[in-house]
Each structure stands twice: as structure tokens, then as C-alpha cells.
């Protein structure tokens, strides 16, 4: 599957009102479940994974997290772009130190090089000052979808 097909207009959820990480995960899991992307087991798997192996990543410009669960908990590959109203306390991958994140890219990764490309692409984007400024200025979900899809398309040309 082409990684660009993993990003869909229905998968952008901006400005979610969540009081903490588990509240956010519960809200996003419910949306993904309704859309048929994940199984019942997804939310618990997501939390377990985050407890054992935090997924926060901090660049010079933005703090994010990449919540994901093992492949058996998802039905089809996806990437969900999520922001929260207030920053949430998260832990950084590998270092387990605290960060505050408002930006979450939920990855429904199964197993293919295309999906690795997606991860690589996000890593590059969060280190791009211009992307981060644009990303943070967009509050409309369909505009956000268009913008990220455009950036993905440009990246392929590179």
C-alpha cells in the first residue's frame, strides 16, 4: 500500500479536548473504531505499548508523539493526524524523559517499506521549521489534510 493512501481526510482530528493521555487515546480509538480502522483491542494495546515503550519525539521546533499498537490490533493501515487543545504530558522514546505534546501522529502500521517511508517522512517534517509553523497555524481539518497531503507529494519528488 502506498503510504500516501494511509492519510485520509476522515483521519484528521484537530483541537481535541483531552485531559490526559489515556483520555486522548480513548477518544481517538473510538473514532478509529467507528471508521473501521481498528479492533476493540486497539485502545488497550495502544496504552500498554505507550507505558512500556513511550513514543514521544522532540525536535528543535515541536514535540510530538507517534502512538501505535501492534499490527494485530488494526484492520487496515492508517495515519491519523491529531492535535489537542491543551498540551499533554508524554514521555520521550528511549530516554523516558518528560515532554509536553499537542501533536500526535497515530500510526496504524502493518509491515511494508511504504509505511517506513511514512515514518521517515514525519521525522523529516518535524525538523522542518516552515512545516511546523504552517502546521501550527492551520485549524481547519480539511485544510490540514490538503496541506499534509501536499507536503507528502512534494517529498516524493525530492
Amino acid at each position: 500500500m502506498d503510504y500516501k493512501e494511509m492519510l485520509q481526510p476522515e483521519l484528521v482530528f484537530l483541537n481535541i479536548d483531552a485531559k490526559d493521555r489515556s483520555d486522548l487515546y480513548s477518544k481517538v480509538a473510538a473514532k478509529l473504531m467507528k471508521l473501521g480502522y481498528v479492533k476493540d483491542s486497539y485502545e488497550a494495546a495502544l496504552n500498554k505499548r505507550e507505558d512500556e515503550f513511550p513514543t514521544g519525539v522532540v525536535s528543535d521546533f515541536i514535540s510530538i508523539a507517534l502512538p501505535h499498537a501492534n499490527p494485530e490490533n488494526i484492520n487496515k493501515p492508517f495515519v491519523a493526524v491529531v492535535t489537542t487543545k491543551e498540551p499533554l504530558k508524554m514521555l520521550q522514546m528511549g530516554y523516558n524523559t518528560e515532554e509536553e505534546a499537542k501533536t500526535f501522529f497515530f500510526l496504524g502500521i502493518q509491515h511494508s517499506d511504504d509505511q517506513l517511508t511514512l515514518l521517515q517522512e514525519f521525522m523529516a517534517l518535524i525538523q522542518d521549521k516552515e512545516f511546523v509553523a504552517d502546521f501550527e497555524s492551520i485549524s481547519d481539518e480539511s485544510e490540514m489534510y490538503q496541506y499534509i497531503a501536499k507536503r507528502f507529494a512534494e517529498a516524493e519528488v525530492k
Binding site: 512500556e52 515503550f53 519525539v57 501505535h68 501492534n70 522514546m93 502493518q110 515514518l119 521517515q120
Partner: protein
């Protein structure tokens, strides 16, 4: 043949991405004769002892650290490679570890 293992929590995404980067780096620098594998934390304790270099993306547990110490495995922080922020630090450590293997 030197062997490098990269391990993350699930073995699905992050470790494979780092393996890809290390493979590309070796290719760009004409380094041959090194295998780089990806795994997850579940399988790692059983296979770690047979590797020369361990690149971690998820924090090593006590059990893992014990195996690293007992078997004299070089341990390298792979997060800079994963995020692409100053990856040269990690590559340098990997190269050093490989050089040490040759001299020992």
C-alpha cells in the same frame, strides 16, 4: 561477519527504519561485511548474545543490559538515527565498535 541488532518495542516500524538508515549509511561509505537486523524486545533476550553491536531505540531493560554486559556487546544509542537529529554521533559509535571488533 560483524552483526548488528536494532531493537525497538514492537519491531515493526522504528527498528526497521533505523536498519534501513544504517544499511544506507554503510552503502554510501562503502562498508561491507556487516549484517544489520531488526527485532523487538520480546525476541531480543534470546538472540542478543549472538550480536556484536546493539543499537537501542527503546531503553534497554535490566535483563537486556545484563546480557550486553556479560557478552561484551557494544551498545549504541540509535535515537539520533531514528529522528535524523545529529545521526553522525551514532554512526561514529557504530564504526568505533566495528573497528574494535577487528583489533580484538
Amino acid at each position: 561477519m560483524a552483526k548488528i541488532i536494532v531493537a525497538c518495542g514492537s519491531g515493526v516500524a522504528s527498528s526497521e527504519l533505523v536498519v534501513k538508515h544504517i544499511d544506507d549509511f554503510f552503502e554510501d561509505h562503502g562498508i561491507t561485511g556487516v549484517t544489520v537486523d531488526a527485532t523487538d524486545f520480546k525476541k531480543l533476550p534470546d538472540i542478543l548474545a549472538s550480536y556484536d553491536v546493539y543499537v537501542w531505540i527503546a531503553r534497554p531493560s535490566e535483563e537486556i543490559q545484563g546480557i550486553v554486559d556479560d557478552n561484551n556487546i557494544a551498545s549504541v544509542n540509535g535515537l539520533p538515527i531514528f529522528t535524523g537529529q545529529k545521526p553522525e554521533t551514532s554512526y561514529k559509535e557504530i564504526i568505533m565498535a566495528l573497528k574494535n571488533l577487528q583489533t580484538n
